[in-house]
């Protein structure tokens, strides 16, 4: 395997809740992302997937452990890592047109270069006809495509996706999965997807990491060797697909059961979002 583009090493994250009590969210998580690899992280709800992604993207500092991006230790956000958030309706800037929203991802370029790249990014997600619209004029799926275009316009080395399709309907979700798969295949970025949808993880990934309940560890690593390019109907009908899905699901359920047992003994304190 070539030098990883992102390496997470012995990560511990502890959050402080409003009443001052501490909650251990992750306990010794290590994994690496090879260049142009597609890795998904699945786990029961409340397993700290989102927190893990925030730390891996530099949005939050770890309590202990390190994140290395392109060989250097991450101390904050970097331009080589882009993030797409679950709540596209809160992530797009409502006061900017779609085009200007996407241009926010390419502020470091000259105006001419930026114009070209924004147009290209909008074309790739099929939104060139909606460039001058405001986010609220677009459907949820289109808004998330705009967020994708904004994340990719800077040509990142790593694209992080935090449950990006959780807030859209099933049909749109399948379409968005294909948009991401195509963008990934045509490009060279590595992708890290956090999701609770096991089928989605199998469909998109080269490798799946199953997270345990809090404090989370990596419970299992499952390599997905389905042929590419994948297509919704053909790929999902493969016997290997069903087998992998069952295998991952089993591990997730195992983790969920363990979590329920733990939390019955020791209820988790509500955790406040860690802002600033």
């Amino acid at each position: 395997m070539s030098e990883p583009v992102l390496a997470v090493d012995s990560l511990h994250v502890t959050l402080r809740s409003r009443d001052g009590s501490l909650t251990e969210v992750t306990d010794n998580v290590s994994f690496a992302l090879a260049p142009h690899e597609f890795v998904s992280i699945v786990g029961p709800s409340g397993s700290g997937k989102t927190t893990l992604l925030r730390v891996a993207s530099g949005l939050r500092a770890p309590t202990a452990g390190t994140v290395r991006f392109a060989g250097r230790e991450l101390t904050g956000v970097v331009s080589g890592i882009s993030v797409v958030f679950q709540e596209y309706n809160k992530s797009l800037f409502p006061w900017l047109s779609i085009r200007k929203n996407v241009a926010m991802g390419a502020r470091h370029l000259t105006a001419e270069e930026r114009g070209k790249r924004v147009t290209e990014a909008l074309r790739q997600v099929g939104l060139e006809a909606f460039a001058s619209r405001y986010p609220w004029e677009l459907s949820g799926g289109m808004q998330q495509r705009a967020a994708l275009a904004r994340a990719l316009v800077s040509d990142p080395q790593v694209l992080m996706l935090d449950e990006p399709f959780a807030s859209v309907d099933a049909l749109t979700r399948g379409h968005l999965e294909d948009v991401v798969a195509q963008l990934w295949e045509r490009s060279s970025f590595a992708a890290l997807l956090v999701t609770h949808d096991v089928g989605e993880a199998v469909y998109l990934s080269d490798r799946i990491l199953v997270l345990s309940a809090r404090p989370s560890r990596i419970l299992a690593e499952i390599v997905v060797e389905l042929p590419r390019p994948r297509a919704q109907r053909q790929t999902r009908l493969l016997p290997a697909f069903a087998e992998l899905e069952a295998q991952v699901l089993e591990r997730v359920e195992e983790a969920g059961r363990a979590g329920v047992r733990d939390s019955a003994v020791q209820p988790l304190a509500p955790v406040t979002p860690d802002r600033r």
Binding site: R54, S57, G58, L59, V77, S79, I81, S82, V83, F85, Q86, E87, K90, S91, F93, P94, W95, L96, M104, G105, R107, H108, Y134, W136, E137, R150, P273, R275, R276
Partner: protein, 266 residues
């Protein structure tokens, strides 16, 4: 589509017409009450308006009306700049919020008229005193609204801005300010009417010139129609400021159509 649009247009025209009809009715009522009272301290609407017109068309315009407008606008502008910047900064950073919460609660509960004697001692009679007193009152609606808006900023929006590398002044101008602008404008609209009201009070007590000074003077020299005319001019100014404000707000917040409430006029 066109019939719907025509319907909306028709509704607007109707609302506008009814609004003016209401004003006309109130004017008639005033005129009638004055005729019935037949008192020298209660002149009719016609007398007050014609006197107001002569004031606007005379030396009082430059001596009192324009100074009052300038003081109001300057006080409002200073309140806006200070209120927005202090409000956003103290609202956004939790530490700043905690340090200033009690202090601001004390300061904003000070009744403005109480500050006028103090301001008179510091600035003396005149415009600077009036502007200073306006700021002490008009800053609060702006500051409180800005602070609340900044404190309630969507965490996802903040994360997005950070991951896009927007920080420092860029974050302030490109994210914090536009994201909070709807609430800021609500505060500014209150501030403009507060500015106008405080301007009059401060001028009555020690403006040296201005509409408030003129009204107090007219009243003391038994020029009753004069003080009513001053009130009419104040009403006009208040209406003018609010209308101008709504036009500017409509322009700057045009992106907001459809984002609030979900329902909007077609």
């Amino acid at each position: 589509m066109s019939t719907i649009a025509a319907g909306a247009y028709g509704r607007r025209v109707r609302a506008w017409g009814l609004g003016w009809l209401g004003i006309a009715l109130a004017a008639c009522a005033w005129q009638l009450a004055s005729a019935l009272a037949a008192s020298s301290v209660f002149p009719g609407f016609g007398v007050a308006v014609s006197r107001a017109w002569r004031l606007i068309d005379g030396p009082v315009l430059g001596a009192d009306i324009i100074p009052s407008i300038l003081r109001t606008l300057l006080g409002f502008a200073i309140s806006a700049v200070l209120g927005i910047s202090i409000g956003l900064v103290t609202g956004y950073w939790r530490a700043a919020r905690e340090w200033t919460a009690a202090l601001f609660a004390f300061l904003r509960s000070l009744p403005t008229p109480l500050l006028i004697p103090v301001a008179l001692v510091i600035f003396g009679l005149g415009g600077r005193m009036v502007v200073a007193v306006i700021v002490t009152a008009a800053i609060w609606p702006v500051l409180i609204n800005s602070a609340n808006a900044a404190a309630g900023l969507e965490p996802t929006l903040v994360d997005t801005a950070r991951s896009l590398g927007l920080r420092g002044p860029t974050f302030f101008w490109r994210v914090l300010l536009p994201a909070t602008s709807p609430q800021i404008f609500a505060g500014l609209r209150v501030a403009i009417s507060v500015s106008l009201a405080v301007m009059v009070v401060a001028e009555i007590l020690g403006g040296g010139s201005g509409i408030g000074y003129f009204i107090a003077n007219a009243q003391q020299s038994f020029d009753i129609p004069g003080s009513y005319a001053g009130v009419v001019i104040l009403c006009l100014l208040g209406w003018l400021f609010d209308t101008l404000f709504l036009v500017i707000e409509g322009r700057l917040l045009s992106w907001q159509r459809g984002t609030v409430g979900g329902e909007h006029d077609v």
